[in-house]
């Protein structure tokens, strides 16, 4: 367990304790203000080089990370490896060695294989590795920005600033995560973040979309989805990951929607102050009805907005706190 990511890699939220997570949220709070300025830039990482290495398709995460790095004045090397190196037979080690040879301080990495970021961190121990999503394993910055968004909204309701609340607003907070938990790195990171912060987490999904050995996870399983909607303070919906074969885990999308989609009727059961979240991209009409996604309870756009300050905070803490190095 790590109690601060300063100068460290960010590979998995399972490694972080409550203090480490609160530190990121508090740091991000300061960067929210930067993003509201006319000149949205601070010199925190001036002269530092951040490589963005996306082996898997991504739009929002990549844009968000690169925007964050630029607002910290870092130089960004954006390498299009999604379809190139591996298909030409290059090993992960060679790919990262090539990038490292250009002289980098940090690598932001997305990969379709679980554990790829951890492997890379062993190949380049002098470079800070930030996991931007690895297979079904972890998506740490998504977990952080989800927690950040919840804290921000709840703090506003109290008329307080998020930083003043620490992890207090998560104590006893009831979070319901719905959908394809089995194939979701977001679920694995969200659960780690919420549980570390003191929230109670339950999951709802068809049995086939729940992970194996769920009894070992720090979550409860919902028997009755409709009742659970009345219980929840936060409802987080997950995309059905059809590209990972989820399609064959349920008889049809229609049946999934009937059983676990957040339809307009179901949304009526939610408590009036409940928050609706979705990490995107949404399949409107599948896991979430379009009207619900655009309703006042939905904080989905906020989640996207908060991606930048959270990633600024992560880059700042991981990289500014490191000695820097470039190639060995």
């Amino acid at each position: 367990m790590t109690s601060s990511i300063r100068g460290e890699n960010l590979l998995s939220l399972n490694d972080l304790d409550r203090d480490a997570i609160v530190e990121v949220l508090d740091t991000a709070e300061a960067f929210v203000e930067v993003n509201r300025r006319t000149i949205k830039k601070v010199p925190a990482l001036k002269g530092r080089v951040v490589a963005s290495l996306f082996f898997e398709e991504s739009t929002r995460t990549r844009l968000s990370f690169e925007t964050a790095a630029k607002r910290l004045s870092a130089d960004v090397l954006s390498l299009a490896v999604a379809s190139s190196s591996m298909k030409k037979g290059e090993s992960l080690r060679d790919t990262i060695a090539t990038v490292d040879a250009l002289g980098i301080d940090a690598v932001v990495m997305r990969h379709q294989s679980s554990g790829a970021a951890l492997q890379v961190s062993r190949y380049v121990p002098h470079v800070r590795v930030i996991n931007a999503g690895d297979g079904l394993h972890q998506h740490p910055t998504q977990g952080l920005l989800d927690a950040f968004t919840v804290r921000q909204v709840l703090a506003e309701r109290r008329g307080a600033a998020g930083v003043e609340t620490g992890s207090e607003l998560f104590e006893g907070l009831r979070v319901l995560i719905v959908g394809d938990i089995r194939h979701s790195r977001v679920a694995r990171s969200d659960i780690a973040a919420y549980v570390a912060l003191g929230a109670e987490v339950r999951v709802a999904a068809p049995g086939t979309l729940l992970p194996e050995f769920l009894a070992d996870w720090p979550v409860g399983v919902v028997d009755d989805f409709d009742e659970a909607l009345e219980w929840a303070d936060v409802v987080a919906l997950l995309r059905l990951q059809r590209e990972r074969g989820s399609g064959s885990f349920v008889p049809s999308l229609g049946e999934f929607t009937t059983s676990f989609g957040l339809t307009v009727e179901r949304a009526r059961r939610l408590r009036t102050d409940a928050l609706i979240m979705h990490p995107g991209p949404m399949n409107r009409g599948v896991e979430i009805d379009s009207l619900v996604a655009d309703s006042a309870a939905a904080v989905i756009t906020r989640q996207v907005q908060n991606g930048v300050p959270i990633r600024m905070a992560v880059l700042y803490l991981c990289v500014a706190g490191s000695h820097g190095g470039g190639s060995q």
Binding site: M86, S114, G115, G135, L136, R185, E212, D216
Partner: protein
């Protein structure tokens, strides 16, 4: 060259005695408390060492032809000799597969030029595709005594049934890699609480156990003998033990890594720990160790699986499965059998005598020109001998391997017990832990 092994603890089938072993012209000439050696005989002092039949590996991937950058018959044989082996059974999952007279003959010929005896396991089906029978009778006529599609199991029960029925009168044994690919396919580690947390797709124990159960029923139906390769779960072994009690002719092996490593190693996402069947939870590891000690498991077989380094630098789910085994198996087996309390009889039983029986290498075979393995240390026997020093402490080093590959999970592990000398094909090929 003639030589005499002086004052080792000679490990017979039922007893051990301190004796000299004289080898003349590739055969054991005399075993006695004190031997008068001819003047040209090389003296080898093996006091404190165990002298028993050379080890026989039922499960070696020599990678030739097709993957010579990872291993060749020659390099694999040298690795085997360092590990105390005098005979290896080469697995047929080469490229192309060993599924014809030509391919089997090629590997046998390469083996004749190597430092030890190389037997071949032929493929059960053409191209190991699990569809059409390979020419089992033609390969059997070359001396092939084991057949397997290892790397994968024969998935279709009707094909496996047909293979057993066809093989039975040939006097050969079919061996199965037990994993139902419809359950295990796409998985890269044991399915369990850890795979769930790590987001790695699992290969459930059920995938192995279902095929073990299925094949036991096929053995019952056909009456053909069968060998179960690299069993990795407590339940698999229990199924085989129950079948044996019913009188079915079934044998099984376990691999050193399934006896010494558990699934926890996969949390590193280091592909060195990726293997099929996968490393299992601690409970299975302990059950396998107990079964090896009790005799429920017949043999230790390495599943020596060299891979070029770049392939083990791939992400965990993309990297090929398998790890090296030949050069560390003896020390690991010694550890599992109790270290200081290890019985030398059991040690040579699981590493040499049982595998030699299963592979039918006990008698020398002039057609394939291999000598006899796994027998007594007695006058008249072919000189295939392993000399093991149970007290030597050493540290495994991936840079010091004879294998062409380095994908061992045991780098820098402290070991007790080491092969001091190996006599294979009647020649002293390893002395003082080094190839001559």
């Amino acid at each position: 060259m003639n030589f005499v092994l002086r004052q080792g603890l000679v490990v017979g089938v039922t007893s051990v005695d301190v004796a000299d072993v004289l080898v003349v012209d590739g055969r054991i000439a005399e075993v006695a408390p004190s031997v008068d050696a001819p003047s040209d005989a090389v003296e080898v002092d093996v006091r404190g060492c165990w002298v028993g039949p050379g080890f026989v590996d039922l499960h070696t991937h020599l990678r030739e032809p097709g993957r010579e950058e990872a291993e060749t018959v020659e390099s694999g044989a040298r690795a085997g000799a360092l590990g105390g082996y005098s005979a290896l059974v080469a697995m047929p999952n080469t490229e192309p597969a060993l599924d014809s007279v030509a391919m089997v003959s090629y590997v046998l010929a390469r083996g004749e030029n190597s430092v030890l005896d190389v037997a071949v396991a032929g493929a059960i089906t053409l191209g190991r595709r699990g569809e059409l029978l390979a020419p089992l009778a033609e390969m059997a006529a070359l001396g092939v005594r084991l057949f397997t599609d290892d790397g994968v199991g024969v998935q279709d029960p009707s094909v496996m049934r047909r293979a057993l029925t066809y093989a039975k009168p040939l006097g050969v044994r079919l061996a199965q890699h037990c994993e139902d690919e419809s359950l295990a396919g796409g998985g890269s580690m044991n399915e369990g609480r850890l795979s769930s947390r790590l987001g790695l797709i699992g290969r459930p124990a059920l995938a192995e156990e279902l095929m073990v159960a299925r094949d036991i029923e096929l053995v019952r139906l056909t009456g053909a003998p069968m060998h179960f390769l690299h069993l990795s779960t407590a339940r698999s072994v229990a199924l085989v033990v129950a079948a044996r009690l019913e009188g079915l002719d079934v044998t099984c092996e376990v691999a050193p890594h399934h006896l010494t490593l558990d699934e926890g190693t996969c949390a590193t996402f280091d592909p060195l720990f990726k293997v099929h069947p996968p490393l299992r939870p601690r409970g299975d590891v302990e059950a396998l160790c107990a079964a090896l000690r009790s005799g429920d498991v017949d043999a230790v077989a390495t599943d020596h699986a060299p891979h070029a380094p770049e392939l083990k630098d791939l992400p965990f789910d993309e990297a090929p499965a398998g790890m090296l085994g030949l050069e560390h198996a003896a020390a690991l087996t010694f550890e599992v059998l109790g270290g200081e309390s290890c019985s030398p009889l059991r040690f040579f039983e699981v590493l040499s005598r049982a595998p030699a029986r299963i592979a039918q290498l006990r008698q020398s075979d002039t057609r394939v020109r291999h000598g006899g393995h796994g027998g007594a240390i007695a006058a008249g026997e072919d000189a295939n001998i392993a000399v093991f020093d149970p007290s030597e402490r050493w540290v495994a080093d991936r840079r010091a391997l004879a294998s062409r590959s380095t994908n061992t999970p045991y780098d820098q592990r402290s070991m007790t017990g080491r092969v001091r000398a190996t006599i294979a094909k009647g020649r002293l090929v390893v002395v003082d832990g080094r190839l001559r």
